[in-house]
Symmetry: C2
Subunit: 581 residues, 2 copies
């Protein structure tokens, strides 16, 4: 029977608890959100003693289900002031699941500031160890030291200096299969919440752990095979398919072509340098430079999509893993930068300091708008990233995210909702995505409901990206995503196959039924997804959010976006449909 | 017939309009709030093209009514995100009224950034003039240049570099009788809104202006005499009384004695150095140092209370006017600083750069909490103020106010509500003031409802400062203040005499009846005050505020304040009574 591990940082105690009945069928985001709603006062200060940070693996994480090595990190966000879950792949999620731990809840706050601890968890239990020797350094220096101490097979969930310094764009880092500090539950500043608890890292050693109990092996196997078949058939996810060869950055040219690649702080929808930072160019460069360069890298064991990459320097040695679509966009096109060597260096710095690449790039774009650098000036962008690492006043501004950067410098054109910087899809040109940004309980977040599937990729049908009736579409995507992908423990990228091929989605349901011993249908999972979203929305409402927060920034209503010269015209009443009860 | 002057900064046009019927009986805050509610979309960006900044004189401003030289500056606040009015004395309000202008509405925004204009208004009309030669300098340098150009009798309403740089603590400056840049409509960042319009200053020349029409001279004279009699009789406001001799800082020792003088970023309620920054010490020092030093200075012509001062350097030359209670507290006790020479220098810098002294001091306190300076380090506090003037990144943080400073550095203990830093009364020790801070549409603002009168001073009865049933008290104070003081055009300081002596309040009503030709009673004015507060609250609701914003910061609920060791225990339901409809 799996347990919940409760860690109290005020008293420095750890305790294993039985999983309450109400949490038995939850996992991942569904579980972190439920715990946040049950235990965190919605009006508490996100960095104060009454917030909690919860880590929960997905329902099938730790099994042989394909592409399911995900963890959700949840709590009240210092970036948005609302509920938050960010999730990540990497090595640690499966280790946590195999230790028989459904969730770790970290609560309280040390009275003494500036001291940090490690939480070591293995089959014998959990303990808190002093961590100050691992503090104040970049993660490319710290992670090897942690592995030297705890063994190369450890799973590590940690924060960098940005989290230590309580910056609102601090993410939570998970080591990848080669133990790089490269996978992130990045969004919403959960790294700062971890930092506010004095928790530097969780070290997981799953040797001798009980593993994940599967109640109905037959159902699980049937489901697993269906999902694998669907993934291996779909053009986007199959071996040698788009994600496997050109990675997520395969989207750069696609979205650019659609006129929806936010360029120079969302001033334009098409970037003249797009192809230079595209997935195709990443692949070519990896091949040309050779050395460690590779595409088709898996960010977590058991992933059969393998969309990650290892990007080489000109001499073939490693620059960074990984040049993702969101990262090459945010630190590239959004800053007017058209060099993968620059975006690679910026991503490496994000990984090193422990910040979300999306928020970092959006904040840099705003900083450029404020005149702190010229658009396209990669050298200056790198300097600005170093300010974050050094914790200078400017670094604290940028590290606090796009909204604080805009407010501090009086910038009106701030592409954010609910305080969170927008991802790589211009909402004026892709209206369904705009509705998701506006209404997701997480703030501007593409992973809450990836309507790019039908609006751009023709997955699950084709929907005109400019059409305005997107309320129902957005709500359906929010509901489906919350359980089927974010709670099951699968990566969002199984969604293409699952939405185009019902047997894929059935496979997910059957895997979950197999693990939990339930007899759910696809509709049941979507209904439970709706419950998750409703619960998150209720938390936000109690925290002070109203429908006026379910809006895009004002400038997108009066400023036309080239090349289509469109404003965000979705009427407020369409936005208000999404959470109508 | 008075007019409304509408200034469009997009097209650089000015236009005089008739006063609509619905605004005829409004003035000051009542008028600026009504115009903001009617013309500003509640969800607009405060620094974008759709916000407006409105300047309106009080109903009796420009007449011989005592202590009535006030102007209200209103719009949507970049500090709070809600509706805002800040008001000020000085020379300009009466000049504006005597020009027959009931309000100036400034709208739009120049397309080209970084250019500034002057609005010159005289009996012949209004025009916009290039202002760039007056930009980028401290106001102690700029104001003399403006007077050199426009004559020493000009009334000037301007912004400093903080407003030019769009900092959220930028105030709107009004020259005092000796033409110092020393009187401020300070709170809520209306200086930044003015800056966002490219409006550097309004220059008023009232020579040959029509003056204020008085519909019923007899009623006016009767009222005026009643109010003068009440003011001259009351211990607080009479000649040689508390305000006239020791100024507003007469409160330092009183509030300190009550255990409610917020000290070192609201860590304690009593400051060991209180007497060194008290009104008594200000008076003694003025007398001892001689030279220009004086108490009993009038900040605007026709004030019979005269609570201002001119504080001398050791050699008797002028350091600053004026060492107010709020300023010596915020830049003194709240920063652990016990030197009037230091607070004087800090106030001078606030005046020079154009920022609100309250917000500046609260932001400095938060910065000290964050470790940027030690509490009590006056030298470092002065350096930090210079950062604001220089517009460094740190200056932009501090200049954005206490809340942004706290968010940027991850400080949980931020004494602010709705984004605005708290004034000089600890809400844990004076609960009615806490209810006002929590529920005022303006954010933490003592002038919205000065319950200090009954809770500390025994004015209008005595109420236990610790008692929790303060919802009705707060609402009554909010209602009375909104019209009787903030809209009539009188300084808030007439309230002591008006609350203790009904004939004073009747005097205010009769003055207004005299000017407007109405036949109102005291109850009518309180009812109209309620309408103003309700309207402001509705704006905030539409802007996204909920009852969860009508709360004090969380730390005040769990952290005990010495010496009384009290938390803020007023129940939420008592707070929710205030705006119950």
């Amino acid at each position: 029977m799996s347990k919940i591990l409760r860690v109290n940082m005020t008293n420095l105690t750890t305790k294993f608890e039985d999983v309450p009945e109400k949490y038995k069928f939850l996992g991942g985001r569904g579980l972190t959100s439920a715990i946040t709603c049950d235990e965190v006062p919605p009006t508490c200060h996100p960095l104060g003693p009454n917030n909690k940070v919860t880590f929960a693996t997905g329902i099938v994480t730790g099994t042989t289900a394909p592409t399911s090595g995900r963890i959700s990190v949840g709590g009240k966000s210092p970036l948005t002031g609302g509920i938050k879950e960010a999730n990540s792949g990497g090595i640690a999620p499966q280790k946590l699941a195999r230790l028989g731990i459904k969730a770790i809840i970290v609560e309280g706050q040390p009275k003494e500031k500036g001291k940090f601890w490690l939480l070591k968890v293995d089959k014998n239990g959990a303990q808190l160890l002093p961590a100050n020797e691992f503090v104040g350094k970049g993660l490319y220096e710290t992670y090897p030291k942690l592995f030297a101490r705890f063994g190369k097979d450890a799973g590590i969930i940690g924060i960098g200096v940005a989290g230590e310094m309580l910056m609102s764009m601090a993410g939570v880092c998970v080591n990848d299969p080669e133990n790089r500090p490269s996978r992130y539950a990045g969004r919403g500043g959960m790294g700062a919440v971890m930092g506010s608890k004095g928790l530097k890292a969780i070290i997981l050693d799953d040797k001798g752990g009980p593993g994940v109990t599967i109640a109905n092996k037959e159902a699980f196997e049937t489901g697993r095979k269906k999902l694998i078949a669907a993934l291996q058939k779909h053009a986007i996810t199959k071996p040698g398919g788009a994600l496997n060869t050109t990675g997520t950055a395969t989207l750069v040219n696609v979205i650019n072509e659609a006129g929806a690649l936010p360029t120079r702080n969302f001033r334009e929808g098409r970037f003249e340098g797009a192809n230079k930072i595209s997935g195709e160019t990443i692949k070519e460069t990896c091949e040309k430079r050779g050395g460690v360069g590779m595409v088709g890298h898996a960010c977590s064991p058991g992933c059969i999509i393998k969309c990650s990459n290892v990007y080489p320097k000109p001499d073939g040695t490693e620059l960074v893993s990984c040049q993702e679509y969101e990262s090459v966009w945010s630190l590239g096109a959004n800053c007017g930068i058209d060099s993968l060597d620059v975006t690679g260096e910026l991503i490496r710095l994000c990984n090193d300091y422990g910040v979300d690449t999306i928020e970092a790039g959006v904040a840099l774009g705003v900083a450029m708008e404020a005149g702190l650098a010229k658009f396209g000036d990669g050298k200056r962008a790198i300097e600005l990233m170093h300010e974050i690492g050094k914790g200078t006043p400017l670094g604290h501004i940028l590290g606090s995210g796009a909204t604080i950067t805009a407010d501090t410098f009086g910038v009106v054109r701030c592409p954010a909702t609910k305080g969170q910087g927008m991802p790589a899809y211009e909402p004026r040109a892709i209206r369904g995505m705009g509705v998701i940004y506006a209404t997701s309980p997480m703030g501007a977040d593409h992973t809450s409901g990836y309507t790019i599937a039908p609006e751009i990729l023709g997955v699950s049908g084709e929907i005109d990206k400019f059409s305005l009736e997107k309320g129902d579409l957005a709500r359906n995507f929010l509901n489906t995503t919350a359980y089927c992908f974010d709670s099951s423990g699968h990566c969002l990228f199984i969604s293409f196959a699952c939405l185009d091929d019902r047997s894929g989605l059935e496979g997910v349901v059957e895997e979950c039924n197999g693990v939990l011993g339930t007899k759910w249908t696809v509709d049941d999972m979507i209904r439970m997804g709706k419950e998750i979203v409703d619960r998150e929305w209720a938390f936000n409402e109690a925290a002070g959010f109203t429908k006026s927060h379910d809006r895009l920034p004002e400038f997108m209503k009066y400023e036309k976006l080239p090349p289509h010269n469109v404003t965000f015209d979705v009427p407020d009443k369409e936005l208000d449909k999404v959470h109508k009860r």
